[in-house]
């Protein structure tokens, strides 16, 4: 069930605390916005001096208002805010929007103040938007509690930065794009990111959700809500604060703690959220998703009236993972029928015609390309929109062509977008295209990027529908057994488990660990080696020795009793030399296994998203290239496969230099089970399976470390 924030977004009455007639003050602009909006609720203006504001009588305090108030907007200096909140709570106001800045984003002092507000509100059952925000807009009821005006439209923005949201609206308006809801929420002291998302996810007027994110306070809840949302609506995010300095700035801005960029990236992938990299891409990509049907595949045709645009579009398409297939003979013939003889530079794709001959080529060629079942979408680029000025005789031709082009998208149910070098001039022909539902862009790169985002979203929808995951099995039995292992370690004040303990836990999840046993003395060592079968591996078991090899605590390929005896003495001796104080439990004996392809599987707890699994190839791949992928736990088998395929070294697993392909399924299983283990055992802080050997059939965990909280 969706979050109900109607008491904020659809109130019956609003009070502005800090209403003012001073045109330099926020309290003036927002009072005007509210009074001028089409919203039909009641507006109460509160002004400490009780003066007339915007021609209206004001109340000196909130308690002077005789009638009930649903929502309060607070825009007075920070030091007066706590009192105002107390008054609101006393008055029984359920929704409070604090525009005022100067709280958690400014440091310790501000954090304390913010905490105080929150406690007051919580005790009174009131909820807070902000502080340090720019208000909200809800087109459904015409409520405008911001300092700017909006067009109605299919976009909803959820933004942590007020300025960013205001700028986005500025550009949106210029392009005739409007909002269903526009939310700036600043520090998210109380209502969190995912609650806003949850509230708008079923909004019938919202077709696309745009987000500006600096950091989440509850990553797991956000992920859950986002997964639900993307089933029916595209969500596009600009996540900032990815650099050290950016985090410094983001932290000072909204007081949010940014999680690691890689884990955010993983979470977005899991939730089907489209991530853009640059500030200007958010609106552009949003426009495409709001206007275009989703393409069936990634095979795109590029149509141009000449010049370098086609080449640049093709280059960009390759970078974005789109295919620009050569056109079939039939399609090339059809094209040559609609292009004047001798005018075409290329019929292959990109299709390049000399438009000076016949501007209708823009429409006619598009039609031919859309009819081709091997083409999933069309990007038109070049000079459309500029001909009326450059070529006398073409005065109104473009304006006649525009409606024809824009119809094609609906008729063939394939995305069509246009890039014009004349975008900034806003000629009528481009405005017609835009109004009639086509995205229009100012450079080819962003047009192609937007097309690629349509492809990405469609691909996500398709693959997530296919994802029939078997349910996760929780087991109380194993849970109890694991608790005992962990308690024992905790009782001994150990923060990490020794290898025998770690292996026993992995076994509970059916993970591929070979036979093993702890030998406390020579006699046990010989006995166990025989049981396990020669050759064997011997490793020191001590809670105080983490880097076993460094301590001379590992002996490989022991072939017989005498080698085991010798190894035991050496390993124990080495350990004592390495660390005098080390408590030694004995040695672990395991079979000597063949060397497979070295991989690493791990689990860690992210500050924002909690338990998170990692996969990578071992050795230099992890150490030098940091070629690893993350996902938030639990992961499905599909997620795990995607993780494995995503690393740059993936070809190694498919087999290079005559090696056989590795058992990807076995690796995916381990990742999946590790992710369940992470959920079931909150006492385990980190887990490191390094290496895990992948074989042609199966995989084997060769070493394991588990660290407790």
């Amino acid at each position: 069930m969706a979050q109900d924030l109607d008491f904020i977004f659809n109130p019956h009455s609003v009070a502005v605390i800090g209403a003012s007639d001073n045109p330099l003050k926020w309290g003036n602009w927002i009072s005007k916005s509210l009074l001028e909006s089409t919203w039909e609720g009641k507006v109460y203006l509160v002004n400490a001096k009780g003066s007339i504001v915007c021609g209206k009588e004001t109340y000196r305090t909130i308690s002077d208002i005789g009638e009930p108030v649903d929502l309060a907007l607070i825009g007075i200096p920070a030091k007066f805010v706590p009192d105002a909140i107390r008054a609101c709570v006393k008055k029984g106001i359920k929704g409070i929007i604090i525009i005022t800045a100067g709280f958690a984003e400014t440091g310790e002092e501000g954090k304390k103040l913010e905490k105080e507000l929150l406690e007051t509100a919580r005790m009174g059952g009131s909820r807070i938007v902000g502080p340090n925000c720019a208000g909200i807009y809800n087109s459904a009821v015409g409520l405008n509690a911001t300092i700017v005006s909006f067009l109605r439209g299919p976009l909803t923005l959820i933004s942590q930065s007020g300025n960013f949201g205001l700028n986005l609206n500025f550009f949106a308006k210029k392009r005739g794009l409007g909002f269903s809801k526009w939310i700036s929420f600043g520090n998210q002291a109380d209502i969190l990111f995912h609650e806003y998302l949850d509230y708008v996810k079923d909004d019938p007027n919202t077709r696309v959700i745009l987000m500006y994110m600096e950091g989440l306070k509850n990553g797991r809840e956000f992920l859950k809500v986002a997964k639900e949302t993307t089933k029916s609506k595209p969500v596009i995010v600009l996540k900032t604060g990815t650099s050290a300095a950016g985090t410094r700035s983001a932290a000072s801005h909204t007081g949010a703690l940014a999680g690691s960029n890689e884990v955010y990236d993983a979470a977005f992938k899991q939730a089907g959220i489209i991530r853009v990299d640059n500030s200007y891409e958010l609106l552009d990509v949003g426009e495409a998703l709001a206007k275009c049907p989703l393409p069936k595949g990634n095979r795109i045709a590029i149509l141009s009236d000449g010049g370098g645009d086609a080449t640049m579009a093709a280059d960009a398409a390759e970078r974005e993972g789109l295919e620009i297939p050569s056109l079939s003979k039939e399609t090339q013939e059809k094209l040559s029928e609609v292009i004047p003889i001798g005018a075409a530079h290329s019929l292959k794709n990109p299709v390049d015609f000399a438009s000076e001959a016949d501007l209708w080529c823009f429409a006619n060629c598009s039609k031919v390309l859309l009819e081709d079942t091997e083409i999933d979408g069309v990007v038109i680029c070049g000079g459309f929109g500029s001909y009326k000025d450059t070529f006398p005789g073409f005065e109104n031709v473009e304006e006649k062509i525009s409606p024809v082009i824009s119809q094609l998208q609906r008729r063939y149910n394939k995305p069509v977008m246009l890039e014009s070098n004349f975008f900034l001039e806003k000629p009528k022909s481009l405005e017609i295209l835009s109004e009639q539902g086509m995205p229009v862009y100012g450079n080819v790169e962003i047009a192609v990027k937007s097309m690629s985002c349509l492809v990405k979203y469609r691909k996500y929808l398709d693959s997530s529908r296919e994802d029939k995951e078997e349910p996760v099995c929780f087991s109380t039995d194993r849970s109890n057994r694991i608790k005992m292992v962990i308690s024992k370690a905790k009782d001994a004040r150990r923060m990490s488990l020794v290898e025998t303990e770690a292996r026993s836990i992995l076994k509970e999840y059916g993970l591929p660990v070979s036979d093993f046993k702890l030998a406390k003395n020579k006699e046990e060592a010989i006995k166990i080696a025989k049981e396990i079968g020669y050759p064997v591996v011997m490793k020191i078991v001590s809670p105080d020795i983490i880097h076993k090899s460094d301590a001379g605590g590992v002996k490989l390929n022991l072939k017989n009793e005498s080698e085991v005896l010798k190894a035991f003495s050496e390993v124990i001796n080495n350990a004592k030399i390495y660390s005098k104080e080390a408590e030694i439990y004995g040695v672990i004996i395991t079979p000597m296994e063949d060397k497979g392809i070295e991989t690493v599987i791990g689990m860690t707890r992210d500050n924002t998203f909690g338990p998170t699994v990692m996969f990578g190839l071992g050795g230099i791949f992890v150490e030098v290239l940091k070629d690893v992928t993350f996902r938030v736990a639990p992961v499905t088998k599909r997620d795990a496969y995607e993780m494995i395929r995503q690393i740059k070294g993936f070809p190694v697993l498919r087999g290079v230099r005559g090696q056989k392909a590795a058992d990807i399924d076995a690796l995916a299983n381990i990742i999946r089970e590790v992710s369940i283990l992470a959920i079931e055992n909150p006492e385990i802080r980190e887990l490191d399976l390094n290496p895990v050997f992948a074989f042609e059939n199966g995989a084997s965990i060769v070493d394991a470390r588990i660290i407790l909280r």
Copy 2:
């Protein structure tokens, strides 16, 4: 000495062949441009019908003009062009600009036609710009042989695409940016890319050279000229046609054969050319290089009036390799003195102040930041330019602040650039900034990118000045000896050398190949093994067996006579089984060497740039990750070092997992010598040293292949 194209760019008289009064025709627009331009030369209009054009008498043919003509502009249909060229040659016209399209870019037919033109022109001593171009502009004499108008300014554009050039000028004009020279040259049938560059490189009015490149026809000459040019002027390139489809489109557009993207990238690096990735970046980066002093280092301060801009700028800075250092206490204190109390969100860097309090913070904080010797440049971002509309009372304040900010750049001789969300509105305050020499941008990413390009260019200048390379030693002796080896192989109709031959050539360059000798029989094998010293390696030597290991033709670590004997029989037998017809020269015997870090060094001949060297780490790094770098030969030691440092796996060479660092200098020497070998021996098509073991001291070439032309 610079190329003299003055007869084209500074003619005394110009004839327009195809002049027309039809406002739909190119011949009309270009006649107007010429007549309206301030150029003081004579314009002759040639029109087949002899009608009045632009109010001027015309000539029916070029030969009707009684006076000498320096430059002809041709804009008649392709099929009439050859005759026109003949007439021009007959008339003794030295410069011909062919605007007309329909030549090499359209296919075989067009290529023939273009060849014909070229031959006619060459025989007559005339030179051609184009065909398929949009003309030229030269501000020095006011000559405008294009269809648009220009502002005078410090930029020069050299563009293969006419449309791209026209668009760039459209945007440049909007931003008050002008050109010294503007050159569109299309198919470069005759005058090549580097000749234009050579012509403008010493132009006193050109401060920055922008290039739009699809493909070069003479990469080596270009590289030479570019290296000279960047010593005194920044050169920025947008290279397109990097994708398969893009190449398809570029080829159809200008008939140029695009070289491999990686080699272009390498050549740009060697020449100090700044490469941008997107169409819109060329002008933006050009503006920065035209206006700003170069920064001493990469330590940048970001100043913002709040919001997400600072965060986004910091993120972008990290991506672009800029440093955003935390500010010193002193600087933070100075900042706090110029920012109203309580207004600042952060003084650390990014510096974030609440401008509503005092707009002068934009200037005052910039000053403080520029005074800091630990800051090399400042990026200002946010809402500057928008306050006059949003906040009554700030009407003209911004316009007063602009001149103060723009002075700071000159005063502190550090680059300052500004991003404004109000960029598109073109408020007066921003126009003042721009006019007074500051780059102004519409988004933070491009501002930061431009700053990073200033840093890059400065870095290139510094390091190329430091580069005191010892002169290359050519040797006739070795040259003769090598020729003999190659002749012998050629006489035997072999396309590749056997390992003993390859090694003998490498030795001529002092490259680290271990002792080796060819053994034709068992007796020789034993003798040689003893001479070289056990243990040894034995490999088959046969011109017909390239993959020696696959043929069972390699035996490692032979410790004594009996092992050598056994190995010899096996190797020879295996070879015969592997290929019955194989001619067997014998076996090569070399010392068994320790395994170092595996690297690969190679040489190949690029279609565009000729001999090119490659470096990479061996094994999966090359095979899976394609983690290799290229440079055009010859390379300096500095180039070679840069190549080595540039690969992603470089940390492996610095030592990981307890391995010692490799001898980078030894590797750089090999790369350098291989590049000289490539230049000295044009008969060698490709060379592959794989693997080359790198040790703590020195390196060793373990296997070598040389392929002949």
